[in-house]
């Protein structure tokens, strides 16, 4: 068999007119032989071509809303799919209230999330792939909340007459509050239960005030409760799901979170000593509700997650002068967000990694400290980690108090086991990932109660979906026939080379959010550490956004294959080439397209039988391709994508 050399391959596929499209035939032979085979005059002398079939890529279906949605990396990564670039542009235009409302529609708690969100959008942000750091998406959200004007009048309110359906929400965390916000305006009569004195769930009881001021929390919980149609039952622990179901609710939503902190019950010394050993989340709640206002000077915090970070930083504010974080895992593998670790370090808190707790050391019934075994991380072929003792002598750290912050668990002691609501072997309810329904038709789950501890934005996203399900359920509709997202694609063309968005790509590096001084924050546990961007910094940071929602839309019929777009593209996104299988195509574009999570935009065949292939990965959305295109085959079009909320008719 004759193999294909690159030259031959090109000769075959580019120079000769080959039938294009799916399952295109590729003829293999020497170029001259192939030339003769294909040339009009000298058809097929002694050449018998070998014919292979290649599965070419189908033209991209840009009518599928998910295609362009995926290009907006931040929005796609946001569990609630907040239209990030849309609100960032509004901030740049100083339209803070509008920016706030775009957020509020999607994520219900812009002021809270703008301070505390886990920000899955930021690691996804395209900007982080073309320079050092992503756009400060989260802190820009806070700007919208800080600088907004009056917004209550723009919020929905419950109709005068309800729809006659009654819903119980158990727990008043972000998940339940989101369900309430989505259903109350539709006329549902809502009963909201929580054992705590006020709404907010862990946002109130666990997230410390120096990260989230109480006023911000109260304001945004207040917006939800202000819609009307929601009766709150605080300081009311729900003891029985059975009773709840029997009191005639049309549906029950369980948003009770993951309320139990893990302990180190098996560790020597733990049984003997109760005082001065605390469970992280319980201790934080006690601080939040003013039951605890001091701690010893020497504090050990066990754990490397965000709870540990909040515990150590809170300790510094309650009298801890020598606070250590002791973690089993290596520094790089700690679960806490990098910015939380940074903030803890900034407050002079050292980290001791690869230390495995071995025993609580006590004397005369009093805690003295803890013993740790030094371990090293080893990885097997699969990259699975194990921690093996190094054999070095154990380490002793003195301590007045120890805070155990090594994880949270779910617990549903109030759900009777004989109701038909099934749990798995780990005690987690069986919850449908799309509908958030349980095995009991009337009962829905969301937030940490559904799939274990996550974060606020996930709780919100799941609350929205559960609300959609509850609404469908109460209307007797199929829970899987869910409403489509609301999308809109509009050209940004204003003139021949003018766009209605700011297409300039600035080179500014990420701006830092100013902090209050340590002397102020460490002496007052309620003093917010971050001061937030002022309007000027906010504008500059907003300008770093690449407007990934302004899509490059290609019309193959218009293209004359002049190459102008491919030539001008700063990041070499565009290639005109013969079609092929995806892996093959990715390898021979103008720049390597090795990030498989980023799609290739493939056109239908052009006049030369080639296709346009755009790697979406590092497109700057600068609009230059469209500016340099003589035929407007490229256009810049703003794509708005809003996840459907409860009450949106299905398939409009």
């Amino acid at each position: 068999m004759i193999t294909v050399s690159p030259v031959v391959y090109q000769a075959l596929t580019c120079r000769q007119e080959m039938p294009a499209g799916v399952n295109r035939k590729i003829v293999v032979g020497t170029p001259a032989a192939i030339f003769f085979h294909h040339s009009k005059s000298l058809k097929n002398r002694n050449f018998r071509p070998k014919i292979f079939k290649i599965n070419c890529l189908e033209p991209t279906n840009i009518k599928d809303p998910e295609y362009f949605h995926k290009v907006v990396d931040c929005q796609y990564a946001c569990p609630a799919h907040t239209p990030v670039p849309e609100y960032i542009r509004l901030i740049a235009a100083e339209r803070y209230s509008d920016a706030y409302m775009v957020n509020w529609e999607s994520n219900v708690f812009p002021g809270i999330l703008g301070r505390t969100c886990d920000r899955p959008c930021e690691p996804a942000c395209r900007r982080g792939r073309v320079e050092k750091e992503p756009v400060a998406i989260c802190r820009l959200k806070r700007v919208a909340a800080d600088f907004k004007g009056e917004v209550v009048s723009r919020m929905p309110s419950a109709p005068e007459t309800g729809n006659g359906k009654r819903i119980a929400l158990v727990g008043a965390g972000p998940a339940s509050l989101t369900v309430a916000r989505d259903l109350a305006p539709l006329g549902y009569e809502i009963d909201l239960y929580d054992e705590q004195p006020l709404g907010g769930g862990m946002m109130r009881s666990q997230i410390p005030a120096f990260r989230l001021p109480e006023e911000v929390l109260n304001e945004e919980v207040g917006y939800v409760l202000g819609i009307g149609g929601i009766s709150t039952h605080f300081k009311t622990y729900v003891h029985s799901l059975k009773d709840l179901l029997e009191s005639g609710y049309d549906a029950v939503f369980v948003g009770t979170g993951a309320p139990r902190g893990k302990d180190l019950s098996g560790l020597p010394g733990r049984k003997e000593i109760q005082a001065n050993i605390h469970i992280g989340i319980e201790w934080l709640a006690n601080v939040a509700f003013n039951h605890v206002d001091k701690i010893g000077k020497k504090v050990l915090v066990l754990g490397g997650g965000n709870t540990a970070m909040d515990c150590c930083r809170t300790s510094r504010r309650l009298g801890g002068t020598d606070v250590k974080v002791v973690v089993r895992s290596p520094f790089d593998e700690m679960k806490a967000s990098p910015w939380e670790i940074e903030d803890a370090q900034h407050e002079d808190i050292p980290f001791f990694n690869l230390h495995n707790p071995k025993a609580f050391v006590h004397e005369n019934g009093k805690l003295r400290g803890m013993l740790f075994e030094k371990v090293a991380a080893q990885y097997d072929d699969q990259g699975k980690r194990s921690l093996v003792p190094t054999g070095e002598p154990d380490i002793f750290f003195e301590a007045d108090d120890v805070i155990i912050a090594i994880g949270q668990e779910n617990a549903f002691p109030w759900i009777e086991k004989d109701l038909g609501l099934e749990f798995d072997k780990w005690g987690m309810p069986l919850v449908d990932k799309i509908t958030f329904g349980s095995t009991l038709p009337r009962v829905f789950f969301g937030g940490d109660a559904a799939f274990g501890p996550k974060n606020v934005i996930t709780a919100v996203a799941q609350g929205h979906q559960a609300a959609v399900s509850i609404d469908l359920f109460c209307n007797g509709e199929d829970l899987y026939n869910r409403p489509d997202p609301l999308t809109n694609l509009v050209t940004q063309k204003m003139g021949i080379h003018e766009w209605s968005y700011d297409s300039t790509v600035v080179t500014d590096l990420r701006y830092k959010v100013p902090h209050a001084s340590k002397s102020e924050t460490l002496t007052n546990r309620k003093k917010e550490v971050e001061l937030g961007f002022d309007d000027l910094l906010a504008f500059k940071e907003a300008q770093r956004c690449l407007n990934c929602d302004v899509q490059t839309v290609f019309t193959a019929e218009r293209c004359i294959e002049c190459d102008a777009c491919a030539d001008i593209c700063p990041t070499s996104c565009i290639t005109f080439t013969h079609n092929g299988e995806e892996e093959d195509l990715r390898g021979r574009l103008n720049a390597p397209a090795q990030l498989l999570s980023q799609d290739l935009y493939v056109s239908s065949p052009l006049a030369t039988k080639r296709v346009m292939v755009k790697d979406e990965n590092v497109c700057l959305h600068c609009g230059l391709c469209a500016e340099r295109c003589p035929t407007a085959a490229w256009d810049m079009q703003r794509f708005l994508y809003n996840t459907a909320k409860a009450g949106t008719p299905c398939h409009v």
Partner: protein
């Protein structure tokens, strides 16, 4: 309207042997009409010089007047440049080349600039065999002055205003061959796979290397009836050979049957791998090449590729037998050795 190209490039953008990315070879953002063939040629020049790993300061760009002659602003922004008057680029190139033979000279011109006002200059640059690359961005019209027919417009070709060209055409590649040029090629701005290796070969070639690049003017000469439009050229392309420029010590083994392929070794050991597609033509035979050009024209085909190649021709400095050191690097006393030396020379001539 964007006036400055964004600073960011692909994070995995290829680097050449000098560690540079293509960015170091780019120029200012083009102000030519969107879709102009000239911009594609600029991009091919950027790519070619980048791939050859030539330090940008080793290159001098020279041009005349026209849209084509404006392009040096849009490529090789870190190189030397001289934008001369209409049709006079060859004279400036001759002077520069005489003064400093160590630079790589890249002349860029248009069909108006070279085939009309600058014709007299063009022919003498060939005749003298300057060591330079001479690219004509050939759109069959005077783009800059709004699209009047040029001397390379084909008889019968219709321009945008509906006017049919009544005059004979000048085939610049044929003329270069006739005048003794030793590297003659034709290409198409819309075929970078051919154009880039041609540019690389021309830059590496130690004499006058001429490339006539058909380059559609989207605004004034891309209409139906024009023989320099994207559609027409694509429909009538005839390629004499596939060309691969093989840099030194990067030999690739190819499994192409012998007989159809040829290898042209350059003075520095790099070589051109030519895979012939047209069998009625020999790239080292001037007469065969001329015949090929004429026959293709008769058949209304736009013949492209490296049409003619001759390694052993003396360039201007060889002919003049100048010293190895570039003249501009000589000291004053070396260039003007004074009266006594003059007297000696005069005495020898008596």
């Amino acid at each position: 309207m964007t006036y400055v190209k964004p600073a960011f490039r692909h994070p995995e953008a290829a680097k050449n042997k000098l560690g540079y990315t293509r960015k170091e070879y780019e120029g200012a953002l083009s102000t030519l009409c969107a879709g102009c063939g000239h911009d594609s040629i600029s991009a091919a020049i950027v790519q070619g010089i980048f791939e050859l790993s030539i330090p940008p300061h080793r290159v001098a760009k020279l041009s005349g007047i026209g849209c084509s002659s404006k392009t040096p602003t849009y490529f090789l922004g870190n190189s030397h440049g001289f934008n001369s008057v209409h049709g006079r680029m060859p004279s400036v190139a001759t002077g520069a080349y005489l003064a400093n033979k160590d630079l790589i000279y890249l002349g860029v011109s248009g069909d108006g600039d070279s085939a009309s006002i600058g014709m007299g200059q063009f022919v003498h640059a060939i005749r003298r065999n300057l060591n330079m690359v001479y690219i004509v961005m050939n759109n069959g019209c005077y783009g800059l002055t709004k699209g009047q027919d040029s001397a390379t417009a084909d008889p019968g070709s219709i321009n945008k205003s509906g006017h049919t060209n009544l005059f004979e055409t000048i085939d610049m590649a044929g003329m270069a061959l006739e005048l003794g040029a030793s590297f003659v090629a034709r290409s198409f701005s819309g075929d970078k796979e051919q154009l880039i290796p041609l540019i690389k070969a021309a830059v590496s070639f130690p004499g006058f290397a001429f490339i006539d690049v058909i380059s559609p003017c989207v605004t004034f000469n891309n209409n139906k009836g024009s023989t320099k439009s994207y559609d027409y050229v694509r429909d009538h392309l005839e390629t004499v050979a596939e060309l691969d420029f093989v840099p030194l010590a990067e030999e690739i083994t190819s499994d192409i049957a012998s007989g159809e392929s040829g290898r042209i070794t350059m003075h520095d050991g790099t070589y051109l791998q030519i895979n012939k597609l047209a069998l009625d033509w020999d790239p080292t035979d001037r007469i065969s090449s001329l015949t090929k050009i004429h026959r293709s024209r008769m058949n209304q085909e736009v013949v492209t590729g490296l049409l003619y190649y001759e390694a052993e021709r003396k360039n201007l400095h060889d002919i003049l037998n100048t010293v190895d050191t570039p003249l501009n690097a000589l000291e004053y006393y070396e260039l003007c050795p004074g009266n006594s030396v003059l007297q000696t020379i005069n005495a020898e001539l008596r």
